[in-house]
């Protein structure tokens, strides 16, 4: 017997993401999902930029990692609330893990929620978590050819952050190559060049965050 079905396998995951989004909408907060390879500087950028947000903007971070609470510990002094989610062997955060993270936060005391996804350039891109915006980081040491190698990650980005630009000269980084690849993949997302070390460009990222509102 052949049973014909037309059912999205992602329904359950997307439905959970929509539940998360509605819950955050109801609480009046904006959620930004940060995606990148491991070591591109997500945590360092948050340590640097969250204290620069306008006074009264209350922040929280959900940090996804396979193991350890190191990132959450690093962020303790930068955000009012920090929750570490350990995925074990999971290569991306799932909407249900974010739901559990939301359970452990006081949403009424948050204006901005950052989700720091598991460092990975493939799997996290495939899962909506309920966020309002996606920020994708690409650090200079990763190389100027990565946009074309991982196009789906960049196609779905709302903002693209080129990080560790203080290393550009020593690594002979070709920014034009990145822009040429992005011109074919995503012309809607602004590109911000920054260095958490020198502080260059971090204000532009801060301003971008501040301008985002849930739709």
């Amino acid at each position: 017997m052949k049973i014909n079905v037309v059912k999205s396998v992602l329904d359950a995951s997307d439905a959970m993401a929509n539940v998360n989004r509605r819950r955050m909408d109801a609480a009046g907060l904006t959620c930004i999902n940060m995606l990148s390879a491991p070591g591109s500087g997500k945590t360092t950028l948050l340590q640097k930029s969250l204290p620069m947000l306008p006074d009264g903007m209350r922040t929280a971070v959900l940090v996804g990692d396979l193991q350890t609470t190191r990132d959450a510990e690093r962020l303790e002094n930068s955000a009012a609330q920090v929750v570490q989610i350990n995925t074990g062997s999971g290569c991306h955060l799932s909407p249900s893990q974010v739901e559990q993270g939301l359970d452990s936060l006081d949403l009424s005391a948050i204006d901005l929620l950052i989700i720091e996804n598991v460092g990975n350039m493939v799997c996290p891109a495939a899962f909506d978590l309920g966020e309002h915006r996606r920020a994708v980081l690409l650090s200079v040491p990763e190389g100027d050819d990565k946009v074309a190698k991982y196009p789906t990650l960049f196609q779905k980005a709302d903002v693209i952050l080129l990080t560790k630009i203080d290393l550009a000269e020593i690594l002979e980084y070709n920014f034009d190559r990145v822009y040429e690849d992005l011109a074919k993949i995503n012309t809607a997302a602004p590109v911000i060049r920054l260095s958490s070390k020198t502080g260059e460009g971090v204000e532009a990222w801060r301003d971008w965050i501040t301008a985002q509102r849930p739709e």
Partner: protein
């Protein structure tokens, strides 16, 4: 390796469809996989083999059909077929699109042994969504 997460969702849909038809064993499952979902068919089949252990779908064949992308330009409305590494609108040259197809994973059919005959199966016709 997000194929295992996908397999977890898939087995639930497959078993639900099979239960509706009192299936006793599942032989074959077919899915349409959007190109954008970056599914590796071999990894998907391996995940399927693992996730179905101990269920009536154990040992079943998983057929993965890749669905190419189509998109609509947000600037000028032109519909076209982008490539994974190129979303340039052929009319206005912007890369700012809504994805129309190729960004979903759809269970399309389940072949199973059942106590019901084929006729009663057709009458019930599991058409959801």
């Amino acid at each position: 390796m997000h194929e295992m997460s996908i397999a977890e969702g898939l087995i639930q849909s497959v078993l639900a469809a099979a239960n509706q038809h009192n299936a006793t064993r599942i032989e074959r499952v077919e899915i349409d996989v959007g190109q954008m979902r970056l599914i590796v068919p071999d990894a998907m089949r391996l995940a399927w083999q693992v996730i179905t252990e101990g269920t009536i779908a154990a040992g079943s064949e998983l057929i993965v059909v890749e669905i190419p992308m189509t998109a609509r330009c947000k600037k000028c409305g032109r519909e076209f077929a982008p490539k994974l590494d190129e979303y340039l609108c052929p009319d206005c040259g912007k890369a700012d699109v809504d994805i129309l197809t190729g960004d979903d994973i759809i269970l399309t059919s389940v072949v199973c042994d059942s106590n019901e005959d084929a006729e009663s199966c057709d009458k019930k016709g599991t058409e959801t969504q």
